[in-house]
């Protein structure tokens, strides 16, 4: 008996380390939304990959352009060199040469490296890489040979477009074009530029009032309105041969042309004394009545599928936004607040409608979500914010505002992030139109 008891005690003692002393507890937590919607990005110092003299101007331009491009992105926070342990100098530009730990400890999420090699007179090879510091993973790595000044911007834009695609699934911002109206010497002409305000080009030179630029969906044509002495004319600019056509239509006014994805041009003309919306054929002849009403109907815009058309109508007594289903011909009211809602644009993905609403504080840009039937004010002045135009990514919005006293083009997002001004040169700038074709 004593032996049995002794055996049991010994066994229990021997097994006791393997028995759970106490039951482990677990708790469950939900975290909704990140604490910060911006990620920290650091651009390291440019590094010569071979023995050479001082960095050429092309390298400086690449670095400057990279900084400026990143500043446009509202989800990027650019870090300063003193925020980084040990500074921003690197021993190399590839992953194996970089100790990512010090960048991760400094809370840098992304690291951009720039290496360069002088390859003869007037030719510089530039290597751009974007790393994720937490994992050390290379997100984007590209090399470019720059022989002419304009190639600097093109190289950086391509790299930034790839990086943005990697981070967000969208890349339209760095590979697209804006058209807008700029006032100089008392005239208004149509200009184009990139959304970063580069490559400014004057399209029209009528020395009159050219208004309402509108791109076709292939990015090969621009339509606009020329305000003549007695009546309006339709102008069509071809990107291919740089040719400008002037077309006269029935009626006296031509308002807000817009291309349908199938190539037809929709336009508001007062054919019978009252502005209604018509579609034109390939020869720009009136083909079909799309919206006819006793009231004023103007400003048609389409989504990428061409199934829905948003427009402005005063059929209720005040200008409001409406949506026409082109298949069923049913009209749905969109705006209910305010008494003056104009300049609608529907996002290429067809989900959001941006428009301008007059408030006691001035016009503001409103974004209506067709899926949730909710809306959000995304700009806050001061002054008047008008003419919203969606970017091809259905995320960025260009609009015009006189918040500084003079009308300029600004960038916003559908989430209401901080706005940024697009430099468009001297003179008031209004009526932005975003080329929906990326890379054109």
């Amino acid at each position: 008996m004593k032996k049995i008891i002794f055996f049991l005690c010994t066994t229990i003692l021997a097994l006791s380390p393997f028995l759970p002393a106490q039951a482990q507890e677990a708790m469950h937590i939900n975290i909704y939304g990140p604490g910060q919607k911006k990620i920290n990005l650091l651009v390291s110092q440019a590094l010569a990959l071979q023995e050479s003299g001082p960095a050429p101007d092309e390298v400086r331009d690449v670095e400057q352009t990279l900084y400026k491009n990143m500043e446009f992105l509202p989800f990027i926070n650019i870090m300063q060199p003193e925020d980084i342990l040990g500074g921003t100098e690197l021993d190399g530009v590839t992953g194996k040469d970089i100790d990512f730990k010090r960048f991760a400890l400094s809370r840098a999420d992304l690291l951009l490296t720039l290496g360069w090699v002088q390859e003869g007179a007037g030719s510089v090879r530039v290597e751009l890489r974007a790393f994720e510091t937490f994992s050390g993973k290379l997100l984007v790595g590209r090399g470019y040979v720059i022989t002419k000044p304009y190639q600097t911007v093109e190289a950086v834009n391509r790299f930034c477009a790839e990086l943005m695609q990697k981070l967000t699934g969208r890349n339209g911002f760095f590979r697209s074009t804006l058209a807008f109206v700029r006032k100089n010497d008392g005239h208004k002409e149509i200009w184009t530029s990139t959304p970063q305000g580069r490559s400014l080009k004057q399209i029209t030179d009528f020395k009159q009032y050219c208004l309402s630029p509108a791109w076709n969906w292939k990015g090969t044509m621009l339509a606009g309105t020329l305000v003549g002495d007695k009546k309006h004319e339709l102008i069509i600019w071809s990107k291919k041969d740089k040719r400008l056509r002037r077309i006269q239509l029935a009626g006296n006014t031509i308002i807000s042309p817009a291309f349908h994805p199938d190539g037809r041009l929709f336009i508001s003309i007062d054919r019978y004394g009252n502005p209604d919306i018509y579609s034109l054929n390939a020869e720009f002849e009136v083909e079909q009545t799309e919206v006819k009403n006793w009231a004023i109907d103007i400003s048609p815009q389409f989504d990428r599928k061409g199934e829905n058309m948003v427009f402005v109508s005063s059929r209720l007594g005040n200008p409001h936004i409406f949506l026409l289903d082109l298949r069923t011909r049913k009209v749905k009211r969109i705006s209910y607040e305010g008494k003056y809602n104009t300049n609608p644009d529907i996002s290429p993905d067809g989900r959001y409608i941006a428009y301008s609403r007059r408030t006691p504080d001035g016009h503001r840009i409103i974004v209506h979500d067709l899926k949730t039937n909710t809306e959000r004010q995304v700009t806050h002045g001061p002054g008047n914010d008008e003419d919203p135009a969606w970017g091809p990514d259905s995320y960025f919005l260009a609009f015009s505002s006189n918040r500084t006293g003079e009308y300029r083009i600004y960038l916003a997002t559908r989430q209401g992030d901080e706005t940024k001004m697009i430099p468009t040169g001297p003179g008031e700038a209004t009526a932005p139109s975003w080329n929906p074709a990326v890379g054109r």
Binding site: Q22, A23, Q24, E25, A26, M27, H28, I29, N30, I31, Y32, G33, P34, G35, Q36, K37, K38, I39, N40, V43, S44, Q45, A46, E51, S52, P54, A55, R60, E63, Q64, Y67, E71, F75, N77, M79, Q80, E82, D83, L85, G86, G87, T88, E89, L90, D91, D99, K101, A104, L105, S106, R107, W116, E132, F134, S135, L167, G169, R170, R351, T413
Partner: protein, 250 residues
């Protein structure tokens, strides 16, 4: 007595004396880039804005003591300036704030300690949790739990302490969670299990349910890695915390 000394000689081998009353600091080892002798590339982007405060002399004294983690206040105050615009300003060397006689070591130490106390962050582990500090934290969380109401999904049990602790954990991890908020149309969720010790230190992280987006999963793991230490658990038996990260706000 002689026998005792012979068995326990004070300097036998590599044995050293460890004072268990002193706190232990964990540090990360990093490699700083080696300075190159020739200036191949001029320092184009080193055009950081000038520091607004003139206490650089004291900061130089203090740097060996304070880990150089960027204080959030200073980062928030910095403007996003382009490096080229600030190049000329950076050329000037920093000047000493005054031309008085060099301070004595005692004064320097006193100033450095005052600076440390001023800049010490609330979540520094070496700071003991005084009753006032804990009471204030619990009070803040109570208010937060009250606002959320009884259907607060963040608390799994009926225990108030559990809810309060869950709120503390959520707040601490969330402040380190950074993810670009560009796509609010596709909700993402990932479930992660943390294993912690009795001090709240995160020992292990395991992704139970991936969001399907590697970048989202990495952002979550990074948030946990940067947090490193959670508040001391209210219950010694609490060793696992399961967190569901959602990309969209409630």
């Amino acid at each position: 007595m002689i026998l005792v000394f012979s068995l326990y000689p004070p300097f036998q081998g590599s044995r050293s004396f460890i004072d268990l009353d002193k706190p232990v600091y964990e540090v990360e080892l990093v490699n700083f880039p080696q300075k190159k002798p020739t200036s191949k590339a001029e320092k184009i982007p080193a055009k950081a804005p000038e520091k607004p405060k003139a206490d650089t002399g004291l900061k130089k004294q203090v740097q060996p003591r304070i880990p150089k983690a960027p204080p959030p206040v200073e980062i928030a105050q910095k403007k996003k300036k382009q490096p080229a615009a600030l190049k000329k300003k950076e050329d000037k060397p920093r000047k000493a704030p005054s031309t008085q006689a060099p301070p004595t070591p005692e004064k320097v130490l006193a100033s450095a300690m005052a600076d440390i106390e001023k800049n010490a962050q609330p979540e520094k582990r070496e700071e003991p949790e005084t009753p006032d500090y804990l009471a204030q934290a619990l009070s803040d969380i109570k208010q937060d739990v009250k606002q959320r109401g009884p259907e607060n999904p963040g608390s799994s049990g009926t225990s108030t302490r559990e809810s309060l602790y869950g709120g503390l954990v959520e707040a601490r991890i969330k402040e380190n969670w950074r993810f670009p908020g560009i796509d609010d149309t596709t909700p993402l969720s990932a479930k992660v299990e943390l294993r912690i010790n009795s001090e709240g230190k995160i020992l292990e992280t395991t992704i139970l349910d991936s969001s399907g987006r590697p970048d989202f999963d990495r952002s979550v793991k990074k948030a946990i890695a940067e947090t490193r230490i959670l508040p001391r658990p209210y219950n010694q038996r609490l060793q696992k915390i399961v967190i569901s990260f959602h990309s969209q706000e409630l």
